[in-house]
Symmetry: C2
Subunit: 111 residues, 2 copies
């Protein structure tokens, strides 16, 4: 299995959780501290930190610590890998639909 596939596996697993998706959504509006992010999550801080670490280990977010505050930032490039994969699938269907359409509208080309 190539490295890109392993990366995609991790990204999809990381996105398969509502708490982690909520963090991604919130960080789309700008950086936020773990404390602020955790306030919206219905769980203890240690449980929330596991989600933060999972997002970070899969590269979806970066975190930096200054004093006692850990700040999180979205890594859009990583999310773009998921978008790219979906766009590839869409291209495959679209190409197929285009071919089918040509077959129906210009059958002489297929003789």
């Amino acid at each position: 299995m190539d490295n890109h596939s392993v990366v995609l596996d991790g990204l999809f697993v990381a996105l398969a959780d509502p708490t982690r998706r909520a963090v991604i959504r919130r960080l789309g509006c700008g950086r936020a501290s773990v404390g602020d992010l955790a306030r919206d999550a219905p769980m203890t801080l240690p449980s929330f930190m596991k989600h933060v670490r999972m997002l970070e280990s899969n590269g979806l977010i970066h975190t930096t610590k200054s004093g006692r505050v850990r700040t999180c930032e979205l890594n859009r490039e990583r999310l773009a890998l998921v978008e790219d994969w979906l766009a590839q699938q869409r291209r495959i269907w679209t190409d197929r639909t285009d071919r089918l359409e040509r077959f129906v509208t210009h059958p002489e080309e297929n003789k």
Copy 2:
């Protein structure tokens, strides 16, 4: 947790596997039998069937059986839910970038 969130959880889990993503990609080119799909997968047929069942239980594919042949078909609408979620995230960043740009280029509007 709402139903849409549970559905997204399942879709992301289903996509977090190279065999299942290969099936999605292949079915983008058109329907295929389980036998044909399994031929490309480096595993036994029972192991491959688990992947097929997981894709079907999450609604990413439909399967129909005719005699001894089970045919699989992609359910693009389900994959579109994942695309929609990603598009929402992108809108959030884009809106924020637009606001930041207006703030920099037209600071008088922000007084």
